[in-house]
Subunit: 316 residues, 3 copies
């Protein structure tokens, strides 16, 4: 059989509250890592080439529903086919963006849509939120091989005359020993923004051994067309995002994670949102861990909200 099945099952139990929102006790799916089921088919084409099909389905394990939210597409994590070789790789279909990969790569909570201050401020926070999803439809992606520690990615998404796109994004990564650096940028055209939105982000991590440190700074800027009515409606904004965090291995199987992230909006509206997350993550095995998290969420003008949760995550 040439098809691999894999994924992540993440469910937590906790007391959740957004800044300005209502507290609820929940059994929640995918807060630490978005639960998904994947299928990957590969074929060796000879000459160092390989054909790869990736189909990845997000699901909500608390309710059994497909997708990350109502209306999400079934294969929203990845749905693409491509070829990998000495030249790097090229993929066609739906896939994650370079800016999203940069966001998850340089913070200790990785791609946690529940608890990562970086993800929350940029992809989920309202304030500072990027236009466009963490994955793009109708895309062609190219990634270089690694040259002396460097590699780069480029992603283009066709507009197809519909609301979103054409979009373009790219990134440049450097890794050498304990140091990793990443710079990503993107330009998104959406029906909502009625104009271009440009964003960039610089990330870095350094593994000191006793602690791994992470940092990110970024900007999101609404485009030139955002004047007049759009400005009056509060769309014409500039956002500044930053994140700093650490991952501290405290035992052979446990580590402490801490991260602070904020997004500050100026322009048509002034606002600020910040998240502070602290977690203990314990590995039961190579593929299964349990964790306890506390997260503080503060939206300007609203109360400081605390969320606490314990959960289990299994990589299969």
């Amino acid at each position: 059989q040439s098809v691999q099945i894999y994924g992540i099952a993440d469910v937590s139990v906790g007391s959740f509250k957004e800044s300005g929102g209502k507290r609820t006790e929940q059994v929640a799916s995918g807060r630490m890592a978005t639960s998904f089921l994947g299928f990957r088919a590969t074929e060796d084409l000879g000459g160092g080439l390989q054909a790869i099909v990736t189909l990845e389905h997000f699901m909500r394990m608390d309710t059994g529903e497909a997708g990350r939210f109502a209306g999400d597409s079934f294969w929203s994590r990845n749905a693409n086919v491509g070829i990998r070789g000495d030249f790097g790789f090229i993929r066609l279909g739906r896939m994650g963006t370079p800016l999203f990969v940069n966001t998850l790569s340089f913070n200790p909570f990785v791609d946690s849509f529940g608890f990562s201050p970086a993800i929350r401020t940029i992809y989920q926070g309202g304030i500072g939120k990027l236009s466009g999803d963490s994955g793009w439809n109708n895309a062609v992606g190219y990634g270089t091989p690694r040259f002396g520690g460097f590699n780069a990615n480029l992603l283009v998404s066709a507009g197809e005359g519909a609301g979103e796109g054409p979009n373009i994004g790219g990134s440049l990564q450097y890794a050498s020993g304990p140091l990793a650096l990443g710079l990503a940028a993107q330009k998104v055209q959406t029906a909502f923004s009625r104009g271009d939105e440009t964003a960039w982000q610089l990330g870095a991590s350094y593994d000191f051994g006793v602690v791994k440190a992470f940092g990110q700074v970024g900007r999101i800027k609404e485009g030139e067309t955002f004047v007049g009515a759009a400005r009056a409606a509060g769309y014409d904004t500039r956002d500044r995002t930053l994140q700093a965090g650490v991952s501290v291995p405290v035992t052979a199987t446990g580590k402490v994670l801490a991260s602070y992230g904020e997004a500050k909006t100026t322009g048509a509206r002034d606002s600020k949102r910040s998240f502070t997350s602290l977690a203990y993550d314990h590995n039961l095995s190579k593929r299964t861990d349990v964790y306890a998290v506390v997260m503080f969420d503060k939206l300007q003008g609203q109360d400081r909200a605390a969320t606490t949760a314990v959960g289990i995550r299994h990589n299969f």
Copy 2:
């Protein structure tokens, strides 16, 4: 590969009629056993512990549609992750309720939503129908190991401020030689009932060898808040359910199944519905069987309806 794929494909052809309804000739999916596709990932954590992810998808094989009905969630049979060990098991996510397991365990037609009088009266009959699904969202389930023939299950479902829940359910089972006993109870809070609904069910089976006998009695009681307008609207009801059946192995590969079940409603409305099912089930192999069923359905004040069907079921 650590992921198992399994399921049931059940399709029958027949002349179907509900009491008071219209007769239609149908190719129908999942009447004898609801068709599903499952994925199970397991990992040995050491120390007798095991991590388990279960994702189970109901589908309608007659139309190719996902779910048991329009609007059903994709992974409605099971979507959970948990740990199993000497302590029993704990699971988080969506999973079947103890009362549902008790209902299917002590009747010869098991979980047949088409032909089991027990399932039909309690989960599908209108009269006597439980509030809440056969599986609950946002749930935490715990099951004990077996002690001297006994084991118990507990399931709690968070309300999360939405319509349904918090719910709680539990069961106690005993099995020794030919005898099996089960007692299950649950309390459900739904947006529809605007109050608590409590239900319990006692089930028993005894395998005499030449015949295996099954019996169930139960009660469903709408809560205290059901007064005034709700009573006038006919929601304030008490239901009494019972079922008696046999499974008779007539050849090495064939058995006859017979079951009678009824639900009697009193309170704001008086009503009664009964089902009588008779089937011959023939095993073509360990995992494939074919069957012929006749079922009579009688709703108080309506005609006695007869359904006849032949079908094939494959466990994969």
Copy 3:
């Protein structure tokens, strides 16, 4: 594990334009072969019998969405269970129709909903379009074994009192050495047509070695009930379809495909639509190919539209 996972991932990049429509640059899924993911479970029942479950899911790899279009059922390619043996096979559930199989069998672009003139005119063209899908719900299918080069298929779909059906379809095939012949016919009752629609199609192919030639002729005829208001509304039509094509192996791993197809409508409306497709298809391996296509689309009274695309297809 008794379950096989397989499918097709097909994504192309091109400039697409329908006759009378708008040109868009697209990354498109399933234009050369509709992308799908399949699960097949088989069990040997002894005595030469085999139980088979087939679940096949179409997906749009450009957007990650399930189905061929919004509202398509999840398992729309196949969802059936059956038995295969010396007697042939019988299947219950949802499955492809004999006329659809005949349509894809005798044209060089096979089941390409993007580029096959035969498929486009009959299943997607508007003009000449069959009532009923390429697969039928609530169906029972029987296929004979091969006798002296001949085999036949019969498919019956229950109406179930809803919009579509009962439908009936059948086909007869002959294959001997380089020659293959197929005749298929069907009668469909739909809510839309408010009457019977009958269709038939004759197809042939001959492999000369240096070139394989394909030809198809067919008729689609709206039923007797189509009079009065229906005629006035333009539903009462007769369609004549034809297709001629070649597949030319030009290298050990590459072949040129060419096909012309048209559907001509008479009756309540007079119209004609034709497609001309030319492709080069290059095998990177046994299961992966890349292709370049140009297709001309002409709807009577509209402009001649040219579509060009390059793509990759992987069979897994």
